[in-house]
Amino acid sequence: MSKKVIVIDDSVTVRQQVGMALRQAGFEVIEAADGDEGAELIEKTADAAMVICDVNMPRMNGLELLELIKKDGKHATLPVLMLTTEGQPQLIERAKKGGAKGWVVKPFKPELLVAAVKKLTLSA
């Protein structure tokens, strides 16, 4: 059975780009458009293998969502990869401290993203 990846980004085009790369690599992809929607989707998707999350989004940003996921015991072990145009070291440090597994700066290279997702979902 395909591993399920939740992609959270307010740009539908970016979600489609990520989705296309991951589906071609055999993953199942489900999408959310902001942190609030992402939190709901994570809650509903017990068998998610990992989350790919943008940082700068309306309603709830990606770092707030990361902190919410890690605070919630049920999903605390779910790997989260940040995918963003942000390259500010302080934000990367905040994500690292918050429990993210990695940081990708857009525009992303699909082959690198797929390799990282494969690595992070090995144990899922």
Binding site: V14, M57, Q88, P89, I92, A100, G102, P107, L112, L113
Partner: protein, 157 residues
């Protein structure tokens, strides 16, 4: 930025009238700099630089989304360059608009740069409009300023 998505740009002489019909604006704020970046272009150019797998459709919602994302990536580049001078910005999410004869009104900002480009016959205009504080210094990069992570980089923790 546009070069990386397959549409290298050349400067557009100021005398050429621009017929843009789509644009995106993103506000930013920080201790020493606040304002907005506005990027306008044409649906045709944005459709051309849509990711290859999506370009066949090129509907208005896709064009709006991608215009916002390009403006976002452009301002993020500026933000990351400013980091070297210790200037930190917080950005809003993009607002995208469609229209004809889009006009930019000067708001009395202390820094205003309007740069016009073209790819073939298609224009792209970027306006950077900001208020600065007296404390801003963009002449010498700070030695201790942390460099931003480069585009395309992937770091696993």
């Amino acid at each position: 930025l546009l070069d990386s998505v397959g549409a290298p740009l050349e400067p557009l002489p100021r005398t050429v009238a621009v017929t843009d019909d789509v644009g995106a604006s993103i506000g930013f704020t920080g201790p020493v700099l606040r304002g907005a970046l506005v990027m306008t272009s044409t649906r045709r150019l944005v459709r051309k630089v849509l990711p290859a797998d999506l370009a066949a459709e090129g509907t208005d919602p896709q064009i709006a989304d991608w215009t916002g994302e390009l403006a976002n990536q452009l301002l993020r580049r500026i933000k990351n360059k400013l980091l070297a001078y210790g200037v930190v910005l917080e950005m809003s999410t993009p607002t995208v608009f469609f229209g004809l004869e889009l006009a930019r009104k000067h708001t009395g900002s202390t820094v205003r740069r309007e740069l016009a480009f073209r790819h073939g016959d298609e224009p792209l205009v970027v306006t950077f409009d900001a208020q600065t504080s007296k404390d801003i210094d963009l002449t010498t990069p700070l030695e201790e300023a942390a460099a931003a992570v480069a585009e395309g980089d992937l770091t696993l923790f």
